[in-house]
Amino acid sequence: MLRKVLLGLSTALFSANLMAAEMQIRIDIPAMSVAEYHRPYVAVWIEKPDESIARHVAVWYDQAAAENKGTKWLKDLRLWWRKGGRELQMPMDGMSSATRQVGQHQLRVDDATLRSLASGEYRLVVEAAREKGGREFVKIPFRLPVSVAAQRQQKGSEELGMIQLSLQP
């Protein structure tokens, strides 16, 4: 019995050590009481201290529009567009997808991606721009490599609700 417990414990410890680092991002798209609502375009990326893009995480835009016409408004994600969005070809596999409805949405940055980034300071950036609405971005700082589990959050004021960043070592 004791042996079993010990074995179980060591397995748990062992697997904890081997567990891959991960970043979970929760994005809240707030409900708006407006006459004409369109889902926002959203870009998510990891930036370096000099504001250059270290990694694109996601872009949600009108990907289903005929003839790729949804790209016309990507420039409204002004910060993302200027920092590197304009250098990408849309749609982009594994990165771009359709706009999301009001509510909470999860994104995950995997171990391999986090490991590919050099040690140092970074910021998670979430930018939203809404047709006939406003535009806003939120930045949350973090450090790599992840040494302890941590959770950070910051709330947008208009176009974005709570943005939550969970880091697992």
Partner: protein
């Protein structure tokens, strides 16, 4: 009729290089695009920046230089009483440069006691200037009116290496409120010191003071500035030298204007 009187006020505006002359401008409907599309432009001569309240600017000498350096023809050109409008179908990725380049000679002389004035090219001046003319004064003028529009990733716009030009170290379609902007002024392709520059934000008619920002280029032809407010800006640059293209002229006045859009941070 005296040659001077035959000139349209437009030509005078185009050839005039004084900072106090009417503003000349090309105003794009968009400058930063994420997909190929049409952009429309206003072209006018007016006192208030981007307020068409005086004369249309003729666009027969307009060149739209595409990112691959080919020339794009404007579409739906319409000359109204107060402005000229045209569209451009921007299909390539990169930076489009729009330019109107004009040059000519301005002259005054006396025939006996009669004062004469002239504006036009050297050939015409040689035809009109009599052998018995006295007090002959000839100056050369060259003006350049520009604006830029970018689809996708910006590209480096070409330079003509002629007259007064601006080389934008900070890309002209990459301007953000509050950030430092570095511009370099060139005369015949070489950095030019002492260029007098004036930058005015649009919608000046809604404020009592147009709030011009005045700068002079340094030894390397550069100026550094930050524009705190987003908006459409009109930049005017002037310099005079003696590198005339025709022996008749004593002095050369060079003028450059560009419309720049500064986006919010």
């Amino acid at each position: 009729m005296k040659p001077w009187l035959m000139l349209s006020p437009l030509l005078i505006a185009l050839l005039s290089t004084s900072a106090h002359a009417h503003g000349i401008w090309l105003l794009p409907s968009s400058t930063v695009l994420s997909a190929p599309q049409f952009v429309t432009f206003d072209a006018a001569v007016s006192n208030d920046i981007f307020h068409f309240n005086h004369r249309p600017l003729p666009v027969d000498q307009l060149k739209i230089v595409a990112p691959d350096r080919s020339l794009l023809a404007p579409e739906n050109v319409a000359k109204g009483e107060l402005r000229t409008t045209f569209d451009a179908n921007l299909k390539q990725t990169g930076t489009y440069k729009l330019q109107i380049v004009r040059s000519g000679l301005r002259a005054r002389w006396k025939e006996g006691s009669e004062a004469k004035r002239f504006m036009g090219d050297a050939e015409k001046l040689r035809q009109q200037l009599p052998a018995n003319a006295t007090d002959v004064e000839v100056n050369e003028s060259a003006s350049r009116i520009e604006t830029y529009v970018t689809v996708g990733t910006p590209s480096e716009p070409p330079l003509d290496q002629k007259g007064l030009e601006m080389r934008s170290e900070t890309h002209p379609n990459d301007l953000v409120a509050g950030e430092q902007i570095t511009l370099q002024f060139l005369v015949d392709g070489k950095p030019a010191a002492g260029v007098q520059i004036e930058v005015v934000r649009g919608e000046s008619r809604y404020r009592n003071d147009p709030e011009p920002l005045k700068l002079t280029s340094g030894a390397d032809g550069r100026v550094r500035l930050a524009l705190e407010r987003a908006g459409m800006y009109w930049l005017d640059a002037d310099i005079t030298d003696n590198k005339v293209s025709d022996k008749l002229a004593k002095e050369r006045s060079l003028a450059y204007t560009v419309t720049l859009e500064v986006l919010p941070k």
